[in-house]
């Protein structure tokens, strides 16, 4: 379990990282927290010739809230996101999801950028990004582009990022509705393990308790995390009662394409998708109802 030989360079900034990627070509890889890449290298599933370390790039470690968005640098530690007051207030779904991400020791190193580009189908941060419609800032030496998270994931462990690009920032929309609630639900064999399936939901309710906006996502039940936009859209305008929740959960289960593996059958994963979507919607509704408009 030792990595193949490689050479190492530290980038002090995003620009330096992009320059190093351009210089060393497709055999160079960025390393941030390394919590997925180092095991991949130990098992020699990845054998980069160069590792460009972006842990010193301070410009990748910013958290900012500007009106309609929460902007998170790709290199922010997951442990910091868990504790950040602005994130808790404006993007509460993310800290809820982070409770399920690995363990304290891995969250102290792991980053949201790393989770995204690793693209494990059962990973929590990608699911939140897809569900809420986050946008990703991809930067290379030549240019920078924005890509919707929903277009980023192509297959298990495969994304649309180019070898010379760095995921510099994740931009999440803020929901301003007074009565907004969210929840993240997951089943794993042990806490901290990869999810057998996970689901999250965010809902906004009006004064009468009618749903004005909803987002639902399911992870671990297909090759990539999916936002169930149509199912969520069906909830809009109606009361978010038990019947609406059960119907949405059934539609969600019908809308995913889980595969069987050693840990769970496809049927079981589909069942979990249904149960977890219902649980997430119920908990999100309760959170929205209990929230005192500020």
């Amino acid at each position: 379990m030792k990595a193949a030989p490689f050479e190492y360079a530290r980038a002090g900034s995003l620009a330096e990282a992009c320059a190093l990627l351009a210089q060393h070509g497709p055999d160079a890889k960025l390393i941030a927290g390394g919590q997925s890449l180092v095991p991949m290298m130990a098992m020699r599933l990845a054998r980069p010739a160069w590792l460009v370390d972006i842990n010193d790039a301070a410009d990748l470690q910013q958290i900012a809230v500007d009106g309609d968005h929460v902007r998170i640098g790709g290199g922010v530690r997951q442990a910091r996101l868990e504790r950040d007051a602005a994130i808790a207030a404006k993007l509460p779904l993310l800290p809820q999801a982070l409770r399920w991400v690995g363990h304290a020791q891995t969250r102290n190193r792991g980053t949201p950028g790393g989770s995204m580009v690793h693209a494990d189908p059962s990973a929590e941060i990608p699911l939140v990004a897809v569900t809420l419609g986050a946008e990703l800032k991809l930067v290379s030496e030549a240019e920078q582009t924005w890509m919707p998270a929903q277009e980023f994931f192509l297959a298990p462990m495969v994304t649309a990022i180019a070898p010379d690009q760095c995921l510099a920032e994740l931009r999440f929309p803020v929901w301003h509705e007074a009565r907004t609630g969210c929840a993240f639900q997951e089943v794993a064999i042990r806490h901290g393990d990869f999810a057998l399936a996970s689901a999250c939901a965010q809902v906004a309710l009006d004064e009468a308790g009618r749903c004005t906006r909803a987002a639902i996502g399911v992870g671990g039940a297909g090759p990539v995390p999916v936002a169930l936009t149509d199912v969520a859209g069906q909830l809009k305008g109606g009361m978010l009662d038990e019947r609406a929740i059960v119907d949405a959960a059934s539609a969600a289960a019908a809308g995913v394409e889980p595969e069987a593996d050693l840990h769970a059958s496809a049927e079981y994963r589909r069942h979990l998708a249904q149960v977890l979507v219902a649980a997430a919607l119920r908990a999100a509704r309760e959170a929205a109802l209990n929230r005192r408009p500020s």
Partner: protein, 164 residues
Amino acid sequence: MSERQYTITLDVNGVKRSGIAPARMTLVDFLRDVLRLTGTHIGCEHGICGACSILLDGEPVRSCLMYAVQADGHRVTTVEGLAAADGKLSPLQDSFCEAHALQCGYCTPGMLIASHALLETKADPSEADIREAISGNLCRCTGYQQIVEAVKLAAERRRKEKSA
């Protein structure tokens, strides 16, 4: 094949240490094989078991999931750094003995680091806090119950020491 070697200087348990390693050497291998600090154990070498836990700049991390060259310029605390300079065990270490929190001892350095980090931030952790803090550490003797009890005992002792 001549692999490029990197000079690595870091603060280990309050002492400045240097060594030479190829980029692919993990931090745990560097601590054990180059600096000869064999208190930190290597279990799975891919971030599952937690035996290699250390404090990096005060935070618990897995030293098999970092290359030594990445730790250049940083501050590391290993299990050797938990005891007093004269070798006297810390209240946490002593509580592990007291509560029989180790059988084979393989997971112990990682368990100590994880629980030490918890007690540094929470003086009076609940049982759930303790279980959460050591959830990334596997004990194949499955002595978890005694480990939880040891951490509870240590928290109590530390609080008494503070108030005394």
